[in-house]
């Protein structure tokens, strides 16, 4: 951390504001237009070069995107993702040698239903973005968050990861691509414009919904119910992000994209790192904030903007007229203490204002994070991954651990509530987790019974069935779900009054995994144990 000390010394003297116009520190000639990092002044031209170069260097350094690959860009319309789109356009238009070599597509997820926007506002935002997408000429998909209710359970199935590609295979792929004349899957500049326009037109009609299509009313209501059943803003934001990722993943898989690019800036990732720790997602930090996120197996999530601070992005967009829009989200105009994410954001930005190296220090720390792969969990075993976020489960630990201490204190603080009413939960988990499961299930029973007594009785339908009398029916569902989730997803679910409002694919995948676990338990005595060689069981 010597580097931090160096900068720290310089900054402890109060930041002296330059009164006279400074010269660019790179070319020494142009007048400086902005200051980035901790005092580097750049002129307009040098800044543009620096910005563009950083993008390509980021992609080139981490050789994960192969030539000709189809990449889905997730564009929310905000500053960072619009900047990413502009960089991709810029990169694809260069001369042959240094050109970026992948085939992009665009996706926009309309989250207006979750953040309570009116249909008019959503329509306006969608039209604006569609216009923006059309000028780029790439195929685009506009997906409403309501479609999360029509997702198949295959979204949550862990697909085994594609074998790790080494640097040499990347190089051979690039050489081969160049030899083929740089046109394998039909790059933008090689194809005649008319066929591309045809393809785009075809894709648009294949989307099935013209942009003016409003999602069906029952889905909108279901979404409203889902977010109304979440009590805290923290959990809402977490849930929204999970659902958004599932939706993007599904679209990518459906349309044949093997990579997804997210436009998360350095500042945003630093905030995410700290708030993830506060949310209990420490085990998944490396995947959440790293450059390449391969938790979904076949589709890899890539974050090319992770080296840019939000100041650089905002300046670039302003100076070089990159179009962007602003859509109000869940946490717009909320106070600083409304959610953990919001609090962390205000903390980091305030600190950054006084100490400009805050964000880059956090970023450098996040680069050093790696996931410790525990030996027994294999990639292909779906039961070892969290149901919602698909990270490795971090809750199967032995008794003397911080996790079981947390659960124990939670149980004690609730009192021994409804200990006799909980049916034996059929979870083949180690003893402390089992005990805490029924404990937490007991707690959720009383809270859900209370909640469903108020809310669901009047609702009718499925909700009518979960009143106090049949709480024993609901109980296994809730406790089952918890045992399939990682610690932070459990906390999110705990904040929900009714788990039934979750989209059906989550529930059915949960049941499927439960059945598999039960089945495995049943036949476990017939399975050959690895350490008992001489034991030959009869396998008919």
């Amino acid at each position: 951390m010597c580097q931090v000390d160096e900068e720290y010394n310089a900054l402890l003297e109060s930041r002296s504001l330059p009164g006279v116009s400074r010269k660019c520190m790179k070319c020494k000639e142009g007048t400086a237009v902005l200051i980035i990092r901790a005092g580097d002044a750049f002129c307009r031209g040098c800044f543009k070069e620096y910005f563009i170069h950083k993008f390509r260097a980021m992609l080139g350094k981490n050789r994960v995107i192969f030539p000709g690959e189809r990449v889905l860009l997730a564009v929310s319309g905000g500053l960072a993702s619009s900047s990413m789109l502009a960089q991709v356009q810029e990169g694809l238009s260069r001369d042959a040698h240094k050109k970026l070599r992948f085939v992009p597509g665009l996706i926009y997820v309309d989250e207006g239903g979750a953040s309570g926007q009116s249909l008019d506002e959503r329509q306006r935002a969608v039209t604006q973005l569609e216009h923006l997408f059309q000028t780029t000429g790439f195929p685009y998909h506009i997906v409403a968050l309501e479609e999360v209710f029509t997702l198949p359970t295959s979204v949550l199935e862990a697909v085994s990861a594609i074998s790790e590609s080494s640097a040499s295979s990347y190089k051979t792929a690039v050489d081969q691509f160049i030899q083929n004349g740089g046109d394998s899957v039909g790059l933008r500049t090689q194809e005649p414009d008319s066929s591309l326009a045809d393809a785009v037109a075809q894709l648009r009609t294949h989307d099935g919904q013209p942009s003016s299509c409003i999602p069906p009313a029952d889905q909108s209501q279901a979404l409203e119910r889902l977010f109304a059943s979440v009590k805290t803003l923290t959990a809402k934001e977490d849930l929204l992000q999970t659902l958004r990722h599932h939706l993007i993943l599904h679209t990518a898989r459906q349309r044949g994209y093997s990579k997804v690019m997210l436009g998360e800036s350095c500042t945003r990732l630093a905030i995410k790192l700290l708030s993830s720790i506060s949310l209990g997602r420490g085990a998944a930090l490396a995947m959440d904030t790293g450059f390449a996120d391969s938790r979904f197996g076949d589709v890899v999530i890539v974050r090319p903007m992770r080296d840019y601070s939000s100041k650089e992005i905002a300046f670039y967009n302003r100076l070089f007229s990159v179009p962007s829009t602003f859509t109000p989200g869940l946490d717009t105009k909320t106070s600083d203490k409304a959610s953990i994410q919001r609090l962390t954001e205000s903390f980091v930005t305030k600190l950054q204002a006084d100490f400009p190296s805050t964000v880059s220090t956090i970023y450098r720390t996040s680069e050093k994070l790696q996931t410790a792969r525990s030996g027994q969990t294999s990639d292909a075993d779906p039961a070892s991954k969290c149901l919602l976020c698909l990270c490795a489960l971090d809750t199967a630990v032995e008794e003397a651990s911080a996790f079981s201490a947390t659960l124990l204190s939670e149980r004690l603080s609730q009192g021994i509530k409804a200990a006799g009413s909980s049916p034996p939960a059929p979870a083949p988990a180690p003893a402390p987790v089992l005990g805490s499961d029924s404990g937490s299930a007991g707690q959720s029973c009383s809270s859900s019974a209370g909640g469903s007594g108020d809310g669901c009785c009047g609702g009718g339908g499925r909700g009518g069935g979960c009143c106090c009398s049949s709480s024993s029916v609901r109980l296994p569902v809730n406790s089952d779900l918890k045992s399939l989730l990682c610690y932070s997803c459990r906390l999110t679910i705990k904040d929900m009054t009714s788990v039934d409002t979750l989209p059906s694919y989550i529930g059915s995948e949960a049941e499927r995994r439960k059945r598999r676990l039960e089945m495995r338990k049943e036949i476990s005595e017939f399975l050959l144990d690895e350490d008992e060689d001489g034991d030959d069981e009869q396998l008919c």
């Binding site: 504001l17 330059p18 009164g19 002044a41 939000s310 100076l319 909320t334 204002a353």
Partner: protein, 101 residues
């Protein structure tokens, strides 16, 4: 006595939500004995233009951390931040880089 100054103010990145959603504003600052500087401009904006939630835009003397200020398309840090003296026909841009508007 300084002459009244006309300015072109722009708001982006979500900051416009605090100003009725209007991104472009042309304002004229009344004349006063001392030249206008950024600090006084912020006070003026807070008093005359901010419709709601002043704490989301201004914090104490200066803008809230996370809101970038550009004066004539240059970083205001290079111009002296709050001490910069406004000239006629200046273009001041406020861009919010925060999630929550």
């Amino acid at each position: 006595m300084a002459a009244p100054i006309s300015l072109h103010l722009e708001f982006g990145g979500g900051a416009e939500l605090l100003f009725d959603g209007v991104k472009d504003h042309h304002v004229t600052l009344p004349s006063q004995s001392d030249p206008w500087d950024m600090k006084q401009l912020l006070v003026w904006i807070q008093r005359n233009m901010l419709k709601e939630r002043p704490e989301l835009f201004v914090q104490g003397d200066t803008v809230r951390p996370g809101i970038l200020v550009l004066i004539n398309d240059a970083d205001w840090e290079l111009m002296g931040e709050l001490e910069y003296q406004l000239q006629d026909q200046d273009n001041v841009v406020f861009i919010s880089t925060l999630h929550g508007g």
